[in-house]
């Protein structure tokens, strides 16, 4: 009994450390990537800017957290924590390899989506609590965006759960072991539209993490800084870290659901290194997309989801259901 509690504590500590370290250094990676795409070096003082994240952290922590007059103090303070905590909690159930998983549960997929939707609550509370019209507008946008993009995302996940018959992330990854041809991104007999599903899921995870080109919740050209206009100090820092933790979770989820988890494309030496390689390649593509495309409009964003992604993912669900019955 003691041993299992100790295991759980160690696992949670590792999950927090992993999430925080990733969140901190992905900011650096993002800035370096942006720099390279724009043909400039990015933060490059002291060995590729390796000290930039800790120094940013010190700077944010030493600043004063100003609570605007008339703001709802409780909501204002809860919102940044609500942005970061669910993101870290989701790491607990993500399997990095068949042995490295903090807690493998049978409803892992459901749990991650439940926590991911808490992220939109954080934005809603931040916007509502800070008594700023721009923040409220950003929250309204964010919530409508999250609702619109959770639907195709969950339909796509339903398709995969239907094919594999499990919601356990570990078993989902294990069902794709044995080379690239078993991965869910490759069209199989029972679901020929899987690459399309992958694309839908990828777009939705961009939108769910509030990444450009879907970062309407913090459209700085229209809404000052969106929902975190009134936040300074570590409140802002937590929102920022939460965003990057969500990116890591999104990339991990795509890896597990579509790209075979910790499996090698050729079936050789499966392990955590393959998982991390795939995750960081996906994160690179997130950064790459952010610095390529301009921000969409609100209507464009909602039309993309309701008119294109939802019908296609629903069609794919029906097709897969029918073909699973046939074969």
């Amino acid at each position: 009994m003691d041993l299992t509690i100790l295991n759980a504590v160690v696992a949670v500590v590792i999950a927090i450390a992993f999430a925080a370290a990733n969140a901190a250094y992905l900011v650096l990676a993002e800035r370096r990537g942006a720099g390279r795409i724009q043909r400039r070096p990015g933060p490059n003082v002291n060995l590729f800017g390796i000290l930039q994240p800790p120094l940013d952290g010190i700077k944010l922590m030493t600043k004063q957290l100003v609570i605007p007059g008339g703001a709802d103090k409780a909501l204002f303070l809860v919102a940044p924590i609500l942005a970061m905590a669910p993101a870290i909690t989701s790491f607990v159930t993500i399997p990095f390899s068949d042995t490295i998983v903090a807690h493998s549960m049978n409803i892992g997929v459901l749990m991650i989506f439940a926590f991911a939707s808490l992220g939109s609550f954080a934005i809603l509370l931040a916007g509502w609590g800070s008594r700023n019209k721009y923040s409220v507008m950003a929250s309204v946008r964010a919530v409508s965006q999250h609702i619109a993009y959770e639907i195709p995302m969950l339909i796509t996940v339903t398709t995969i759960v239907m094919m594999t018959g499990t919601m356990n992330l570990k078993e989902l990854a294990l069902s794709q072991s044995g080379g690239i041809l078993h991965w869910h991104i490759i069209p199989s007999l029972s679901s020929p539209l899987m690459p399309v599903s992958f694309l839908i899921f990828f777009i939705c995870s961009l939108a769910e993490t509030n990444r450009a080109p879907f970062d309407l919740a913090e459209a700085e050209s229209e809404l000052v800084a969106g929902f975190h206009t009134e936040y300074g100090s570590m409140g802002f820092g937590l929102f920022f870290m939460g965003e990057y933790a969500h990116i890591v979770i999104g990339a991990s989820l795509i890896t597990i659901l579509f790209l075979g988890g910790w499996g090698c494309p050729l079936g050789l030496y499966p392990g955590v290194w393959w998982f991390l390689l795939k995750v960081y390649l996906l994160i690179f593509s997130f950064i790459w997309i952010r610095w390529t495309f301009p921000r969409t409009t609100v209507y464009g964003l909602l039309n993309l989801s309701w008119k294109i992604l939802i019908p296609i993912s629903l069609f794919n669900l029906l097709l897969t259901a029918g073909l699973l019955k046939v074969f």
């Binding site: 990537g33 390279r36 795409i37 043909r39 400039r40 070096p41 490059n44 790459w288 997309i289 390529t292």
Partner: protein, 156 residues
């Protein structure tokens, strides 16, 4: 229905084109320099503040004709001279001649508009634009340049 799908595919294609462009740019060398540590060579036509040109003896080419001072619309050049007499032998007999010598060439860069009239006016090619651009100070006295001293410092 056909327009619906063609729009999707056209959109996806245009997105792919954009991504391929940024992907290529990602691997190209950077075009900026980390400024305080590295600087670029200034282009030939850059107009900094003016600077005296030296002759082969290391002295200013300037003959103190005052044309630059007179031509300056902002009045930011002030030249001081002294007259020197010297003896020279002309056709067997000694004659005393006078010569103007430059003793000070002060440029008040705070009012200079970099129009280049001084350089246009100089018939002896004695002044030029410098390529100096690292000029920042909190005191305006730092922009009163003594060009004669600057020439000496360059030579020493």
């Amino acid at each position: 229905m056909g327009a619906y799908f063609s729009e999707i595919f056209l959109g996806l294609y245009s997105l792919a084109v954009g991504l391929s462009i940024t992907f290529k740019e990602f691997f190209k060398p950077v075009v900026t320099v980390p400024y305080p540590f590295k600087t670029l060579k200034m282009c030939d036509r850059y107009r900094g503040h003016i600077e005296l040109i030296e002759n082969e003896n290391g002295e200013p080419k300037c003959v103190a004709c005052m044309m630059c001072q007179r031509g300056c619309p902002s009045g930011c050049i002030s030249i001081t001279t002294k007259t020197e007499t010297y003896e020279v032998e002309v056709k067997g007999e000694m004659k005393t001649k006078k010569k103007k010598i430059l003793t000070g060439y002060d440029l008040n860069f705070t009012t200079c508009s970099l129009c280049g009239q001084c350089i246009e006016n100089c018939k002896f090619g004695a002044i030029e634009f410098s390529k100096e651009y690292n000029l920042a100070s909190t005191r305006k006295e730092d922009f009163h340049f003594n060009l004669l001293n600057r020439l000496k410092e360059r030579n020493s």
